[in-house]
């Protein structure tokens, strides 16, 4: 820190340098997370988030929170442990959504002309706010992993339902019953995505009949807790200050 102290001559200057570092730091942080989290998201949930006819009440609901709780867990640790900042999950999902929207708007719509109402990403902010506020209020990683990650998984489906419900209205299409989302997938030809690779409405929860969505959400919440734990340790590993202490 001595080099920094010698570079500034007054308190006001120190404040302004510190503020500049804040802005650049936030900028860098936002885009580094955007890049890496977005690649992670595309590799893990991929098509589930790309297309409305993959956003079902079993697998999409289960997979998305589980694979996306990863970065928030690690970043929450880093920001809370080192800076006592409770917005690790929020910054993650905001940067991810930023990247996703750029991709969907410019690549899917602007370049390939898929309508945006077919290729929009999932809403993630409610879960992130709950994760962050629970960490802030409890100041406990264990509590956040259990209750926070639970809430993250549980709120995903209700949080998205306002934009999904209109697409699940039934239609009789040339003698077959289809949801609007199914028709979007049928109408807007995806030459590289044949129908059979669509992973929807599959699984062993059939015995629950109509109430599969809550069951999927609970399963997802439970798994999110486990994954949160794992990625919490990833965060610990990345957030080490060993090399700072050495210098």
């Amino acid at each position: 820190m001595s080099s920094l102290n010698s570079a500034v001559r007054s308190h006001a200057e120190a404040v302004s340098v510190s503020r500049t570092i804040d802005y650049i730091g936030l900028f860098v942080f936002f885009f580094v997370v955007c890049g890496s989290y977005h690649i992670h998201a595309m590799l893990t949930m991929g098509d589930w988030d790309f297309w409305s006819d993959w956003k079902d009440r079993r697998l999409w609901v289960t997979v998305t929170p589980i694979v996306l709780v990863t970065f928030p867990a690690a970043v929450q640790y880093f920001l809370w442990e080192r800076f006592r900042q409770p917005w690790g999950a929020t910054v993650c999902v905001l940067s991810l959504l930023f990247g996703e929207w750029i991709n969907r708007y410019f690549n899917f719509w602007g370049w390939t002309y898929f309508p945006v109402n077919f290729v929009f990403p999932a809403i993630l902010v409610p879960g992130a706010i709950l994760l962050d506020t629970i960490l802030l209020l409890s100041a406990s990683y264990l509590f956040t992993a259990i209750i926070g990650a639970m809430a993250w998984g549980l709120i995903f489906y209700p949080g998205n339902w306002p934009i999904i419900a209109p697409l699940h209205v039934p239609v009789e299409y040339n003698g077959m019953l289809m949801s609007i989302a199914d028709i979007q997938g049928y109408n807007y030809v995806r030459t590289g995505t044949p129908e059979y690779i669509r992973m929807v409405e599959k699984g062993t929860l059939r015995t629950f009949g109509k109430d599969v969505a809550p069951v999927s959400a609970f399963f997802s919440a439970f798994m999110s807790t486990l994954i949160y734990f794992m990625w919490h340790f990833v965060g610990r590993w990345f957030a080490t200050v060993r090399f700072i202490k050495q210098s």
Binding site: L26, F27, V91, N103, N107, F120, P166, I180, P194
Partner: protein, 410 residues
């Protein structure tokens, strides 16, 4: 500081890279790169008809015909137990209004039976102006896309005129081009601003260095005030209240919803097939590399009651015609049609009961252009195709052939 700026650039580049790595496939011209045996020995598309070559936005084009699921389906490709009748176009330049196999609407994957022939029909509605190469296509799970012949279709007009109306079972009429769009934007914008507000609340104060120093000094507890906690509680409570409110509003606005419809459709009805009346034995077949020609020696027996002549050899969407016996009038894509590419050493009518051995030569640049000649480099160098015989009245009988192919380099 310079380091930080460099890092800003790096992070920006990383983000740009991440957003651009995936875009849905915009090209549909994989037809030539697909292994020749896949095209020769899986699905044979024939009797294809394209209703129009030039259409206006909102008009429809119909592609119809037959496809035969080849008996000698290669072992390296999974059987078509889960197959999807697709269309090869560069993105949704057309929308697929309807598609049928054997008269049954097939919006989902189906099970096809090896050895059967099916009628199919695809109705496309023009959406985006341009010249587009439109291919018939069958996706087979475990086998990949099997691409049929492609034809150029021109769309005229303006995409802004395109409409995709739909009437739901609850009685609303909607336009799928923009249905639910405002609602999607609204909720995404709302939550984005909400998340930003949470960050702004914290980032108005010093973000990194001073806090880092205090945490290191063991004074972390001073960094979170009572007000911060109250604001945190308010954000958490507001999140839950808004989600519950938005969900119940959606439920009352859309009381009737169904899950996504999925699952393989079975029981596709094959087309009624007439048994072939000409038996053909392939004595030998060679591909002459310099001449871009395939030569085969066939022993043909006419078991029917009318004299027939060989009019066409079809393989992998390429049609070699014997101009004396048969002419195409369907507007088949020129690059796939050798109008006089089939020479038969003796193509006088083959009388009922007669057996004759002939030399047949199928030559055209298509062997090279469509890389069909690559079959000789395949691990199982067999070729396959269909022979079309015609009687004096133009009535047709189809015989399938499947035999080893020997290359000749001289």
């Amino acid at each position: 500081m310079k380091l930080l700026k460099n890092w800003s650039m790096v992070s920006l580049l990383a983000a740009v890279a991440a957003t651009s790595v995936y875009a849905p496939t915009a090209t549909a011209h994989g037809e030539k790169s697909q292994a020749a045996f896949m095209r020769m020995r899986t699905i044979h598309w024939y009797d294809l008809k394209w209703s129009k070559e030039v259409v206006k936005v909102n008009d429809t084009v119909e592609i119809s015909g037959k496809f035969h699921v080849f008996e000698g389906w290669p072992q390296t490709v999974d059987a078509p137990d889960s197959a999807f009748l697709n269309i090869g176009i560069p993105g949704p330049v057309f929308i697929r209004k309807e598609s049928y196999i054997g008269g049954q609407l097939v919006p989902r994957s189906v099970r096809l039976e090896i050895g059967k022939t099916y009628d199919f029909r695809v109705v496309l509605k023009a959406r985006r102006p341009g010249d587009w190469h439109v291919h018939t296509m069958m996706n087979v799970q475990g086998g990949g896309p099997i691409i049929g012949p492609g034809k150029w279709i021109t769309i005229e007009g303006s995409m802004s005129e395109f409409k995709n109306p739909l009437t739901t079972l609850t009685g609303q009429t909607i336009d799928l081009e923009n249905y639910n769009l405002e609602n999607t934007y609204f909720w995404h914008a709302f939550w984005y601003v909400f998340g930003l507000a949470w960050m702004v609340y914290w980032c108005r104060r010093p973000v990194f260095l001073p806090r880092f120093l205090l945490v290191n000094a063991g004074r972390a507890d001073e960094l979170v005030s009572g007000t911060d906690r109250k604001v945190g509680m308010a954000f958490a409570a507001a999140t839950m209240v808004i989600v519950v409110f938005a969900m119940s509003t959606a439920n009352s606005k859309y009381p009737i919803t169904i899950p996504l419809q999925a699952g393989t459709m079975r029981g596709m009805k094959p087309a009624a097939e007439e048994k072939s009346v000409v038996a053909v034995k392939v004595e030998d077949a060679t591909y002459r590399v310099p001449g871009r020609a395939m030569r085969m020696k066939l022993t043909m027996t006419n078991n029917g009651d009318k004299a027939v002549r060989l009019g066409e050899f079809y393989t992998a969407s390429v049609r070699f015609l014997n101009a004396d016996a048969y002419k195409d009038t369907t507007g088949y894509p020129e690059d796939l049609l050798a109008e006089d590419g089939l020479e038969v050493s003796d193509n006088s009518p083959l009388a009922p009961g007669e057996t004759r051995t002939v030399e047949v030569q199928a030559s055209d640049a298509a062997w090279e252009v469509y890389r069909l000649a690559d079959i000789i480099y395949d691990p199982d160098s067999r070729f396959a195709g269909l022979l079309f015989f015609f009687d004096a009245d133009g009535k047709r009988t189809i015989t399938q052939i499947d035999a080893p192919l020997i290359p000749s380099f001289m």
